[in-house]
Symmetry: C2
């Protein structure tokens, strides 16, 4: 039971961007080196993050990426959902309301997955990049 690296890589990379927010763009190369990730792989994640409008980009020499919004307006949940899709522990939970559920025991367990979903979302939606910045400073 584990998450993919996408979310982890993404949050770390976004944190890196947030340390330079309002200062300058940061290139993929720089982030990849600092975090020891594959640059080409990070590139794919950034492409997604850009589509989701969490970052902006600047091409060419001295180019790079920046946060599209201030760190206090970007949550870990935003990043996770952008990269990993919605959190759905059971198709019964997130899906359409009309889901036909003739298996009694599934209906009983359904609420469990919803509860777990909610608790995960609560946690990740309540941590912003700013929180991480503050935390690191105080450490």
């Amino acid at each position: 039971m584990r998450l993919s690296t996408k979310g982890r890589y993404g949050v770390s990379a976004m944190y890196e961007l947030s340390t330079y927010y309002d200062e300058r763009s940061v290139s993929l190369k720089e982030i990849a080196q600092k975090q020891e990730y594959s640059m080409a792989y990070l590139e794919q994640l950034f492409s997604t993050l850009k589509k989701e409008r969490l970052i902006t980009s600047q091409r060419g020499a001295k180019g790079g990426y920046k946060l599209a919004k201030p760190p206090e307006k970007i949550t870990v949940g935003d990043i996770m959902r952008a990269l990993e899709g919605p959190i759905e522990l059971s198709e019964c939970v997130g899906g359409s309301e009309d889901y036909k559920c003739n298996k009694s025991s599934i209906c009983v367990t359904k609420d469990i997955w919803k509860e777990v979903n909610d608790s995960i979302n609560t946690v990740i939606d309540n941590i912003t990049l700013k929180d991480l910045l503050d935390k690191y400073k105080s450490d």
Copy 2:
């Protein structure tokens, strides 16, 4: 971001067993039919559940499976961890204490995964099979 079916199938199947706790063994065939799961697949899950001593088995005609403990002593967390392994959103969290972490931003984000882990565990460790039984009765 989603869990495998193992945990879901497992919890549903265990719920089924719990409805007959202290009454009789339930065969795989019966559970598979009731829940419309593949019998051969369920078999693998049950093999794991048995190794983890959550169920006992009786071979031969009139055989089947039973809960190894009363429903109030088996949590959803027990079942999930048996089938899906420990919850580890990051190798940084569950692993050894000496994990060398020279990437500052990972250390900052590490606590996030721990928090998420903990919140999931809290939820699933606080729901027993008995709770599910009671819930279904009252519905």
